[in-house]
């Protein structure tokens, strides 16, 4: 079964540092997403990406965040200057198309710890 792959599985970074979280979506999927889950809380939408541009973003996704699909296979989330409150599990997801029929495939996540 095709998978969404995320790397690294765990990253520890110092406050103020930049981090890049990487994802390889399923190859024939067209829509890509980042979600995050702070420990013990619900999964929250960050951003959706289609046709090489952001299609929707949440209030969480401020100027410190950016996404990119640099080479047609990887999908990255960059946090420019990390804060303690950015510590969370970050999930990448993809689906073939939006609408009524399609579930999302999630990666296994990157646990980001900001110290």
């Amino acid at each position: 079964e095709p998978e969404v792959t995320q790397t690294p599985s765990h990253q520890v970074t110092q406050m103020g540092q930049e981090v890049i979280l990487r994802c390889v979506p399923i190859s024939n999927h067209l829509y890509f997403y980042w979600y995050r889950q702070i420990l013990g809380q619900k999964v929250e939408f960050l951003v959706s990406f289609y046709n090489n541009e952001i299609s929707e973003k949440s209030e969480i996704f401020d100027d410190q965040f950016s996404v990119e699909r640099p080479d047609g296979s990887n999908f990255t989330l960059k946090i420019r200057s990390t804060k303690l409150e950015d510590s969370a599990m970050y999930f990448c997801a993809s689906n073939q198309r939006t609408g009524t029929h399609y579930g999302y495939t999630f990666g296994s996540g990157t646990r980001l710890t900001v110290v």
């Binding site: 829509y31 997403y33 979600y35 809380q41 619900k42 999964v43 929250e44 939408f45 959706s48 289609y50 299609s55 929707e56 949440s58 599990m89 999930f91 997801a93 939006t98 609408g99 009524t100 029929h101 399609y102 579930g103 999302y104 495939t105 999630f106 990666g107 296994s108 996540g109 646990r111």
Partner: protein, 112 residues
């Protein structure tokens, strides 16, 4: 507004029993999806039910959807220890689309 609120927040049952989790939401949806998350791991898609469907089955899973009450239930029959996980409903709603809104989840524990 909040979507996808599950209840109960935690459920503990004996192996072999059935587990029922409920989810309520507030706005019109395209579909409602259920996901499982083992502790500290990724989200696994279990089942999707469209807004024009009322019931759906997949193996030991049965999902119902009542759009008039804006609620859904997930039933796991003949539970196993391996079913221990958190279960989330997520709504893919009509306006604004292209994102899932998750509830807080139900933490299910199956006791051997």
């Amino acid at each position: 507004s909040q979507q996808g609120e599950e209840d109960p927040q935690a459920l503990s049952i004996q192996e072999g029993e059935n587990a029922t989790m409920n989810c309520s939401y507030k706005t019109s949806i395209n579909n409602l999806q259920w996901y499982r998350q083992n502790s500290g791991r990724g989200l696994v898609h279990l089942i999707l039910i469209r807004s024009n469907e009322r019931e759906k089955h997949s193996g030991r899973l049965r999902v119902t959807l009542d759009t008039s009450k804006k609620s859904s239930s997930l039933l796991i029959t003949a539970s196993r220890a391996a079913d221990t996980a958190s279960y989330f409903c997520a709504t893919d709603y009509v306006q604004g689309a292209q994102k899932l809104v998750f509830g807080q989840g139900t933490r299910l524990t199956i006791n051997p």
